[in-house]
Amino acid sequence: MNNRRFARTAGWLVLLCVVAAGLLAWYVTRQPASPFEQQQATSFEPALVSRGEYVARVSDCVACHSLTGKQPFAGGLEMATPLGAIHATNITPDREHGIGAYSLADFDRAVRHGVAPGGRRLYPAMPYPSYVKLNDDDVKALYAFFMQGVQPANQANIPSDIPWPLNMRWPIALWNGVFAPTATYAANPGQDALWNRGAYIVQGPGHCGSCHTPRGLAFNEKALDESGAPFLAGALLDGWYAPSLRQDHNTGLGRWSEAQIVQFLKTGRNAHAVVYGSMTEAFNNSTQFMQDEDLAAIARYLKSLPGDPQRDGSPWQYQAVAITPAQNLGAHTYATRCASCHGLDGKGQPEWMPPLAGATSALAKEDASAINITLNGSQRVVTAGLPDAYRMPAFREQLSDEEIAQVLTYVRSTWGNQGGTVDTKAVGKLRGHTDPASSSPIILHMR
């Protein structure tokens, strides 16, 4: 009797497991729906192709899917994750290695939902949780551009070196279920067209949050639109601190006018700052190509995101200091190494060499950006094909960890700056992680 009951219970359990496993298998290989299911487009109007090229610019596809000096969109950028390296793929219309065999619906599923043909899940290094906001017209234009405006490259993809079983892709479907939204951008009727256009670009194609929104334990962005306070509130990533894009007075855009935001995205510089770190690539490849109306829309939207005085600290105000270069190692190093460009008064030479007085990197608690740029310098800012005349040199070989820590401590506690002290060990650590020959490179290169 007991045995029979046991057998029956066990039977039910097995059945339940089978059903659950079946459901799971279905769920994790499921092809999300696409509005383009039955459409097969093979040739496109030139206007649509060039519209798609613009969408690709705004989405900055090239940042990951191209290597400098190599054929555009042929893939190859290595991204180090905690589990191993993955490589951006070939997205040229090559039929063998690229996406030449993708239908419009396949393309849509990859871009907006992170699902490749056959149900294979993409790693969320591809910012599909943002691209899902793209509207149908832009997806179609993007497809037209990649099919007809890009040269096919017969270049094989590099397999990831993440070991089995960690390289199984199906768990990503579960991650998506929890963290990746499924809806395209829906206009907010309470706001005007400019604001909505800005929201669309920032949340969707621009995927600003990929760098500027803090991530949770599962590497998920903590918010994907203005309904969440962490949205664009600043985040540490790749050894840089991507500052807040909200109205934070110190660490955000509180002191920037809409015109200054436009100027920054269009020319790479304004009276407050010059692009550096990962933003240089975003500028070189993407924001400078945006149309003026789109930049204005971005500025309008960003100016609508409130700051958080509690997180941001008391509002920065310039404080003059007497110049006594010999007072300590930090001040001395500043006077000899930094002041020629940034000024003994810390005010820089706007808009060419940025002020350090009131700079985000000198006000934020996170000191990664200050350390990183001092160690490694800045990359060329290239506007309309012309490199700019000034760049931050790398001091990696010239200054010791202690000298860098001291000079940054000086910068971050002078002229009203309140970022505070920089630890010598923190400099040493970042020096190791950003050494080109490092065996412990910066974790998760996500853009």
Binding site: H332, T336, S340, C341, Q349, W352, M353, A389, Y390, P393
Partner: protein
């Protein structure tokens, strides 16, 4: 734009962000000011702007319009500059000479603000690089100059 260099007015046609060094050397042919690194690291390009030493390779030309620029070509017209050059000759400071225009500028700027600098002040101000290693000769010359004034 109009620049005032060595008491003369020059009409210059250049982009606002052009480094002053290029305007001085290429547009105006005043080649006494040297290009070393272009990154504010060596000081070879030092000139005076309103009596302060600046590194012209990192000085956007738009920022010095309306200000008084002095280059090595006219340094001996300046009272202090003249003494610096004389002492430089006396101490035979120069080797190849490439960095020396910048060194003289740095020395002149220091002595204009601080006629009798201490050893510490000299060290803090004379930070230009010299690949010939004339640092000791520069030190001696600076000590002479500091003494001249304190006597």
């Amino acid at each position: 734009m109009e620049l005032r260099i060595n008491q003369k007015a020059y009409q210059v046609d250049a982009e606002a962000d052009t480094p002053l060094l290029w305007v001085i050397r290429d547009n105006l042919g005043l080649t006494g000011t040297k290009y070393g690194c272009g990154l504010a690291q060596c000081g070879a390009c030092s000139v005076l702007v309103d009596g302060n030493v600046v590194r012209s390779c990192v000085t956007p030309v738009a920022g010095v319009v309306g200000r008084e620029i002095t280059t090595i070509e006219a340094i001996e017209e300046d009272e202090v500059g003249k003494r610096v050059v004389a002492t430089w000759v006396e101490r035979q400071v120069a080797q190849c000479g490439y960095c020396q225009s910048g060194q003289v500028m740095a020395a002149t700027a220091l002595l204009k603000h601080t006629p009798a600098p201490t050893a510490e002040q000299i060290n803090a101000a004379m930070i230009n690089l010299c690949r010939c290693g004339t640092y000791n000769a520069i030190q001696s010359a600076m000590q002479d100059l500091a003494k001249q004034e304190s006597v």
